[in-house]
Assembly symmetry: C2
Homo-oligomer: 444 residues x 2
């Protein structure tokens, strides 16, 4: 290809006589679109800061030593290797120029015919700077591995504490946010406490380990049916998680958690309380609502002809969801699929249909034999829901190798009441100020 | 246990009426000993900087994206959980006081009745500060993951280089040291070049990627038989590795490699040219020869009654090996096994036999269907040697789960000519000055 074309930019993307789609972000939305786009008629450039796609729903298992990163992450180049006119560049977008149709990145700039913003979401601290500084987020593989190291290191430290209050503080885990991530994380902690840690730390009284799940609203899994929400609450209490609903976290200094109800001493506060759009530079305030990019029912950014946003970063209001479609992997994937098709139709100058979201149901697991599933008006829990959760997540993994490795790990854990991968590969010393600096960059 | 005993030190090890063995290091030697020690009659304290044992022979596969860390690392607490009087502490030894029988660590001090130094080996740069600063070592899991990130990032960078010389420099990989590590690493690079990278980087001319293996002596695998050494050389050449024997690396500034023969431009120099004892503070010069601790044939440190050294850090001269037993996993394991037994015999005041090393053979693989095996006077190569290598390494892995996960990955790679885990989880930015600071600590 490079022989017959010239290189006109520092990203080294060949210039050919085809419309060019630039996709920013290889998450559920961006990757789905890149996989389905017709590479005979369209040149695709996928920009991502990582060289891999991350299957976020199982990230909590990496954090709690159940799975290794390779089971839930997938090299972008491998997924897209059959796409002949698709070019992947690992870089960070620094700015978008909607007038000149240019994307600026840390390694050069590129012109687009169509731009697709699929930058996803990032952790939302709701402006609480102290929490942002001291709490642990879990929105990337690196953060999940940091969290795993921190958890394991805390037990090592508890072991050599003679001060009993300090010891408890190392064994006190606060999880903020009663959505699926918080609930699944709390459940995984409860399993570690029950089956793994007592054997690993016979010198510690693991019964003193506390798991607190803090939720601001009156119930956990508030996006699910009342029945499932109540079931989940019951399961969590059964496995020993202290659930605090109607409770707001006000402050955290690395040791003391101040909430609207009680004050806790804890070295670990995991922040799963909310996400917000990951907005690239160049987006103007009029494009945004609640820090997400407003799109019409064609996924088009309001006021821009050839710019689209899909996935968590996009806010699409529909008749059924007047406040916007939920930030879910299934919405992202369906939008990616829709847009791949829709751009093809546009190029053929056909009339394009509106995007229509099909709700395929939601689910969450609390632990061994415990899960809740909502599919339409059907709600069920317990062992069968758990099996459904397992099978659905296995099938959602990108390839056969990941499925097999995850399957082996899950079977192993189930039979042996054990976790395979409790390694501290890289010691966690201090939370990097990444999110802060990113925010500063955005402001600058 | 903690109920009936008092805690007399900051490491929180219970004081009980049993002799205490302190083992420094959970490698092949230390872990083997800890697993075999009689925990009814002896209290064991295992100190290690990591919470896991690393199966070093397969580390090169982590570096070349073939395996994930959990496949070759094993939590120490898990391995030793059935040992009731064994205590594991994750810490760094800062000093040993042989007069007071005390080990000082970063989290407190501990008295020993018997001390076992099993601190292994570290990378030896032979005093070349420039190489130490710029070359990549591969003696720990973290270093292997850093190396993996660097390799993958280099290809991403090559992709956006317009300067052809710079581009080549990113795709030029120098491996120094023709021992098993260097040979197996070079072979793995050759497989990446042949099967994986051309599909991942269709925009790059992967034929321009160069793999150079530099060895100071006249042959590769010099510890093996001439037949195996020649076979390995032939295999390496066949797979496209440029082998430079009788060649010394003189300098490296991060870009230019100066050798006794040619000058190379390369962004990646991997240093597998030698190791040296990892000597804890407190060891006096008279205990050392070639920076290893001199031990007699009872693994006892010369001149100290109750201090032992085993594994790579120990230098034991025997009639068969007048220059000292080789730094091999099998020597380490056998010494660990011997010492666990020998201390038990001593406590019963029985006469203790000398250590006797049984050579179980050596092997190395260059790639798919290519390996060499020496067992006593039998030397064989090719497909059968490769199968032997695979089976032996599978069986050497600590548990069934690791074996199964490694097996799945190997089968996958074999059938698909692919690697599963080419993820850049943590971007590699700069080599940490760890080895330098460690050395400074030792000098201080």
């Amino acid at each position: 290809m490079t022989d017959t074309t010239t290189l006109n930019n520092t990203l080294n993307i060949p210039t050919i006589d085809l419309p060019r789609v630039v996709i920013i972000g290889g998450g559920f939305a961006g990757l789905k679109m890149a996989r389905l786009i017709n590479s005979d008629e369209i040149q695709t450039v996928l920009l991502d800061e990582n060289n891999h796609h991350t299957f976020q729903p199982l990230m909590y298992q990496v954090a709690t030593a159940g799975l290794e990163p390779d089971s839930i992450a997938y090299p972008l180049r491998k997924t897209l290797k059959t796409k002949k006119r698709t070019h992947i560049r690992m870089t960070k977008v620094t700015n978008i120029d909607f007038v000149k149709n240019m994307v600026h990145t840390t390694i050069g700039e590129i012109r687009y015919d169509y731009l697709v913003i699929a930058t996803g979401a990032k952790t939302n601290y709701f402006g609480n700077k102290n929490v942002e500084k001291h709490a642990m987020p879990m929105k990337s593989l690196t953060e999940s591995l940091d969290l795993r190291s921190l958890i394991l290191q805390n037990f090592e430290k508890a072991l050599t504490q003679s001060n009993e209050e300090e010891k408890d503080s190392f064994m006190n885990f606060m999880i903020v946010g009663g959505g699926p991530t918080g609930v699944e994380l709390a459940g995984a902690f409860a399993e570690l406490k029950k089956h793994v840690l007592p054997k690993d730390y016979p010198d510690l009284d693991i019964r003193r380990m506390q798991i607190h799940l803090i939720e601001a609203s009156p119930k956990v899994l508030s996006a699910m049916s009342d029945k499932s929400s109540n079931h989940a609450l019951e399961y969590l209490r059964k496995t020993g998680v202290n659930v605090w609903t109607d409770t707001l976290v006000k402050d955290y200094d690395g040791n003391t958690v101040t909430t609207s109800k009680e004050v806790f001493q804890s070295k670990t506060l995991i922040w799963a309380a909310g996400v917000t759009g990951n907005i690239p530079n160049g987006i103007r305030p009029e494009h945004l609502e609640n820090n997400r990019i407003i799109v019409d029912e064609y996924c088009r950014v309001k006021g821009l002809e050839n710019v689209y946003a899909i996935g968590d970063v996009a806010l699409m209001k529909t008749k059924e969801s007047p406040r916007g479609l939920p930030m879910l992997g299934s919405v992202a994937q369906q939008q990616g699929q829709y847009l791949a098709h829709s751009i093809k139709e546009q190029l053929k100058e056909k009339t394009v249909k509106k995007f229509k979201y099909t709700d395929k149901g939601t689910m969450a697991t609390v632990g061994r034999n415990l899960a809740v599933v909502d599919i339409g008006k059907i709600h069920f829990g317990g062992w069968f829901a758990w099996l459904t959760w397992l099978l659905v997540h296995l099938m959602l993994l990108v390839d056969f190798r990941s499925r097999l490795v995850v399957f082996v790990n899950w079977i192993w854990s189930y039979i042996n009441f054990d976790r395979g991968t409790r390694l501290i590969v890289r010691k966690f010393s201090k939370k990097p100020d990444k999110s802060v600096s990113q925010k500063e960059e955005l402001v600058a």
